[in-house]
Symmetry: C2
Subunit: 378 residues, 2 copies
C-alpha cells in the first residue's frame, strides 16, 4: 500500500514526472531536459493539479539554470542540481550573471503562460522570481538561491499536504462514504494530495472510508488518477459517471464531498475542476457537507470574488472525440471550460494546512490568512 | 434539413433499424430477420429510447408471426407483411393457430425481458398480447390483428410525437436556450421525438432555439445522437460534458430544460436517463423551468411513486473503458445505473400528447389520464 506518488521531482539535472496521460494503463516516468518540453507537458496535462503545477514550474526554472550553467562549462559533467543534495561544483568564469538572470525571468514568464486558472503556478513562480532577483546577478548566489527555493517549495508542499490531511481527517469518521471529483491527490500535488490527503489520513488513522470517484469528463482524471491512487493506497473506491452522483445523494449514500481547488479568492469563492459546482448544489439540496481542501498557495487574496477568476476554455476536441474516435458530429459546437466557480456560501468548510475555515467568508479568510502568515497583520 | 429519423420500421418482412451504436460516424440501417437478433440489438442499444423500444417490440412480435407463416409455406415467396400494405396472401393449411399463438406469446415474454425500466416496452407488448389473444388461434385473424396492431402502435407513436411537439413548443419562445439530456429525439421514438419534438416544432414554427446537449455518459447518446439529430434538422447545437451544465445555469445561460422519460408513475415521479435528477436540482436552485416530454405510453399508473420503479444497473465496463481502452484501474469498482428518478416536485410540467400537466401530482395526473382516456372514469 503506497500513499505517496512521485508526481514531479528534480533528479540529477532533469525534471522527472509521472506521465499522467498514460495512467492507469501505464506507470511511466519521463525525464524532461528543457523548459519548452516542460511547458508542453503542462499544457497537455502530463503533469496537472494546482499544487503540482507550482512545484513543476519551480523545478522548471531550476532546470533552465542547470542548462545555462552546463552550456558555459568547458568540460560539463553530468549535472549541477539534484533534489536533496547541495549543488555540484562548477566553473562560473565563462558565465554572465545578468544574461542568465534575464533567461531565468524569461523562463518564469513562459511557464506562467501555460495555464491560466491555478494560482499555485503563479505563487511558485513569484517565489522563484524573488529568489532570482535577490541573487543580484551573482552566479553562485543564483545557484544557491534558485535551487534552495525550488526544493523548499517542493518539500513545503509535501509537508503542507500532510497537514491538510490531518486537519481534514478530523472531519471524517469511521464508516463514512466520501465522494470526490477530479484528482486532488498526490498526482495533483507534491505527492500526497489535498482532498485525497484528507481521505488517506483518515484511512491511515484506522477509519474505514469508502470513496466514490466521479470519473470527471472530459479527461477522466477521477477514473484514471483518483481510482489509481485509491487502489494503490488500499482504499475502497467506486468510479461513477459524473451525472450519476445525484442519484447517490438522493439515496442518502454520500456522507461528505471533498474536492481540491485551483484558486480560492478573498470571499471564499473557489474555482475547481468543472463539475464541482454541481456537486456543491447537490450537497446543499441533500444536506451533505461540502469540503474543499487546499493549501494557502491556492488562495488568491487579490481577487474579491469568484467573478474575477479567469476560466480556461480548452479544446472542443476533448469533448467531441475520445482516443481519436469521433463522438459528436463535426457540425456541433462544444462548450469545454476546465473549471467552474463554487460560491463560498455553498461550502461547509475550506481545509488548509493551518486550519479549517468553517462557512468561509471574507472576514474569516482574512483572519485565518493573517494567522497563517500569508497576509500582513492589520 | 430533416426532422424525421427512420429509427425502426417494418419493411418487406424484416425489422429495419438504424444502428445507433455507429452514429454519428456512420448512418447504417440494419435488417433484422429474427427475434433473438432483435433482442440482442435492444440489449446493446442499437435501438433504444422508451417509445422506440415499444415500436421495436411490436414489430418484433410481427416478425415472429412472419417467420412462423413462412416456415409453413410449401413455396414461400419473399414476405407476408410490409408497413403500409395489407398482408400478402398465404396458405394457412399447414399452420397450427394454437402453436403459433403460443410462439407469439413466448416472443412477447422474451422481448419484455430485454430491458427493465422503460414502460413503453411493456405497454406495446401488452397491446400486442391482446391482439394475439383476441384472434382465438385463427391464423387469418392473427395475421390481420397482429399486423394492424403493430402498425397502429408505430403510426400512433409518430402522431403522438407531433402532438407532444405542438404542446411543448407553446412553452418555448424565440431566442430561448434549451438544455437537454440523453436523446429523447426521433431516434428514441417512432421518428420525431419527445423532448426534441418540442424543440423541432418550436424551430419549425420560426423560433430561433439554441440547444445545449449534455453528452450523457457513459454511452454519449447526447453527443452522438442528439447532436446528430439537431445538426440534421438545422438547429444550433453545442455539446458539453454532463458536469459542465451547472456552470451554464450559474451564468444564467439556460432558459429551460427539456428531457424525455422512461417511466412516469402516478404521482409524477419520473425515471429518465441517469443525470436527469441532477439537472432538475439545478433547475430548482437557479429558477429554470424543468420539463419532461413523454407520451401516455410512458406512464405507469400502477405504481404510486418513484421508489417502485426498477432501475437497470448496466455493465461496469461501460464506465471503466471506452472503445476498448481501459479508463480506470481493474481493482476499482463501478456504479452504473442507467436511470435515476426525478421527484415530481422538481418538475415544472410534464408535456404529453393530450395536454401539459403543470406542477404534476397524483390528482392532476389522474384527471389528465381520464381526459386522455388512458384511465377509466371514476
Amino acid at each position: 500500500m503506497d500513499t505517496i506518488v512521485r508526481t514531479v521531482d528534480y533528479i540529477k539535472g532533469k525534471v522527472v514526472i509521472i506521465d499522467q496521460t498514460l495512467l492507469p494503463a501505464e506507470e511511466k516516468y519521463v525525464e524532461i531536459g528543457d523548459t519548452a518540453e516542460l511547458a508542453a507537458a503542462i499544457r497537455i496535462l502530463k503533469v496537472r493539479g494546482a499544487p503540482a503545477l507550482g512545484v513543476a514550474a519551480a523545478h522548471g526554472i531550476l532546470l533552465e539554470l542547470e542548462n545555462e550553467i552546463l552550456a558555459g562549462q568547458d568540460d560539463p559533467h553530468g549535472y549541477i542540481f539534484d533534489h536533496g543534495d547541495t549543488a555540484a561544483a562548477f566553473d562560473a568564469s565563462g558565465l554572465d550573471g545578468a544574461v542568465i538572470t534575464a533567461k531565468l525571468l524569461e523562463t518564469a514568464d513562459m511557464l506562467a503562460a501555460t495555464r491560466p486558472t491555478a494560482v499555485n503556478l503563479f505563487w511558485a513562480i513569484e517565489r522563484m522570481r524573488k529568489a532570482i532577483k535577490r541573487s543580484g546577478n551573482d552566479i553562485s548566489l543564483l545557484a544557491a538561491n534558485v535551487s534552495t527555493e525550488a526544493f523548499a517549495i517542493h518539500d513545503g508542499e509535501l509537508e503542507t499536504d500532510r497537514r491538510i490531511g490531518e486537519n481534514g481527517a478530523a472531519l471524517l469518521s469511521d464508516g463514512m462514504v466520501v465522494l470526490t471529483h477530479c484528482n486532488a491527490g498526490g498526482l495533483a500535488t507534491a505527492g500526497y494530495g489535498t482532498a485525497l490527503a484528507v481521505i488517506k489520513t483518515a484511512h491511515e488513522q484506522g477509519n474505514a472510508i469508502s470513496v466514490f470517484a466521479d470519473e470527471t469528463r472530459p479527461l477522466l482524471q477521477g477514473a484514471r488518477l483518483t481510482a489509481w491512487e485509491m487502489t494503490r493506497a488500499g482504499i475502497d473506491v467506486t468510479v461513477l459517471c459524473d451525472n450519476a452522483a445525484a442519484s447517490l445523494f438522493a439515496a442518502g449514500r454520500i456522507d461528505a464531498v471533498v474536492t481540491g481547488a485551483d484558486r480560492i479568492v478573498l470571499n471564499g469563492d473557489s474555482a475547481n475542476k468543472i463539475g464541482t459546482l454541481g456537486l456543491a448544489v447537490l450537497c446543499e439540496k441533500y444536506g451533505v457537507p461540502m469540503y474543499i481542501a487546499a493549501p494557502w498557495s491556492t488562495f488568491d487574496l487579490t481577487i474579491e470574488n469568484g467573478s474575477g477568476i479567469p476560466i480556461e476554455e480548452r479544446d472542443p476536441g476533448e469533448v467531441k472525440s475520445f482516443a481519436g474516435i469521433k463522438t459528436a458530429p463535426d457540425e456541433a459546437k462544444a462548450y469545454n471550460p476546465a473549471f467552474d466557480v463554487t460560491p463560498a456560501e455553498l461550502l461547509t468548510a475550506i481545509i488548509t494546512e493551518t486550519c479549517v475555515i468553517e462557512r468561509p467568508d471574507v472576514e474569516k479568510i482574512r483572519t485565518a490568512a493573517r494567522e497563517a502568515g500569508v497576509l500582513e497583520p492589520e
